[in-house]
Structure formats: C-alpha cells, structure tokens
Symmetry: C2
Subunit: 139 residues, 2 copies
C-alpha cells in the first residue's frame, strides 16, 4: 500500500465551488479563483484538519512559504501586476487556505483588499481555459 501525502484531505465545498483546479504541488493544491476581476490563486495544504498557519509543523510551514513564493512568481510571470497580495483569513471558510492575488492599480477593489469586495464575476469559459493553460504550463 502506498502512503499518500494527502490521506484524509478533502477540499471544503465552498472552496471547491468557487475555484478550478490548477495543480497539486508538494504540499498544496493550487486553485484558480473563478473571478475574472482579479488573477487569484488559492493554495490549500493537502493535510486534514488544518485551520491556522501554526497548525502546520515547522517543515510544513517552510514548505508553504516556498509554495506561496512560487505562486507569486507564477502569477507575476503569467499575468503581470503592480502588487501581489497574500492572505490567510479563514473567517468564513475555516479550512487553511492562502490567497495569492495579482493586483493592478485601478482594479475593481484597488487599493482595498479583494476579500469581501463587490460581486464575483465568473470567467467566460474560453478566457478561463486560456488562463488555466498558461498557468499550468508555468506550474
């Protein structure tokens, strides 16, 4: 029997509903937020029962930081931006997840945070698929 790194991992239903799959990295599932207003990745460590960043062990936290930085570089390379926003909030969805958002001056929430701002605008399917292809080739 092969031990799986993500034994017991399941994605919160709300995260599943709001995102599309990009890749599984060593620690995290990488998701694209289905909101065309902002290029927005979500990293979800594939370990069960995590809520806060300090629920991870030290090695896990180091790996998460590595993957956050990798996601930043991927977004910057694929879509370009003026600033990157990184956040772990979890006030609504408690499963530990980290937002990595490419921000542009003058975007729909600028200079405020994207969380809780306005109304999600889902991608047209063709636009979403084109972005996913670019992200996956960069992943």
């Amino acid at each position: 029997m092969i031990e799986r790194a993500d034994t017991g991992f399941g994605l919160d239903p709300r995260l599943a509903m709001d995102t599309v799959f990009v890749a599984d990295w060593q620690l995290c599932r990488v998701l694209l937020m289905d909101d065309a207003r902002f290029p927005w990745l979500i990293l979800v460590p594939r370990r069960p029962g995590l809520v806060e960043l300090d629920d991870l062990d030290e090695d896990g936290a180091t790996l998460l930081m590595h993957e956050i930085r990798r996601a930043m570089q991927m977004l910057r390379g694929v879509v370009g931006c003026d600033k990157l926003n990184v956040g772990a909030l979890g006030n609504i969805v408690r499963q530990l997840h980290v937002h990595v958002v490419a921000r542009r001056e003058g975007d729909a929430a600028w200079p405020g945070p994207v969380w809780g701002s306005g109304t999600t605008r889902r991608y047209p399917e063709s636009e979403r698929d084109a972005l996913l292809a670019r992200l996956c080739s960069a992943a």
Copy 2:
C-alpha cells in the same frame, strides 16, 4: 565596526505613525497597530528595499514564516481570539510588512477583512500601555 543586521533599514513614516513599538526579533520589527478595535501586530523585516515576500531570500522567508507563527501564538496567548488573520498587502504602504490580527466573531469588521474597514479608534493610553506590557512580557 559592528555590522548591524538592519543596516539601511528605516520604517515607513505611515507605519511609524499608525503603530507603537513592541520588540525587535531576529528578522522583524514587531509593532502594535494603534487601533483598539482589533488586537493587531505588524511585522516588518528589518532589511532595506523589500516590497514583496519573494524579495526576501529563501532563508529570510523561512525566518519570516517562523516569526509570523510566533506572533500568532503571542496574540492568541495574550488576548485570545476566534481566528487569526495574516496578510501581506502593501497596496498603500509598499515597504514589506505582514499583518497578524486577532479576530473575534462579531468584531467591528467580522467576518470581513480589517483592511479598509471603518475608522481607526486609537487606544486610550492606559489601555495601550497595559496591552504593550503584556505583549512585551510574552515576546
């Protein structure tokens, strides 16, 4: 001549205006946001010229994650909370800084983010000094 770890480091004037000093850790200056609505720490890596998390080298990023977790544990121990929010935004103040905020269900911004929410309410001096003393003894 002794080389200082924070050679060239200077705190952004807006961060300086909005916060009070708590401690200098190995990497970061730890500040208390002067906003009595939320127990709120800000970590500022004491290296010049940083804007994004991936401007740090890998060792610096690992240390920053360590200090973020330390700040979470300090806040949780000193003030208690229902959730911790961690964010690196920097849309307004570009100097790299990480927010670590203790959230309580029903607080002034719950369940939204604290950034851009309502109006700062500075601490009464005695309350601020009492909190600072508890934070410093936990640091």
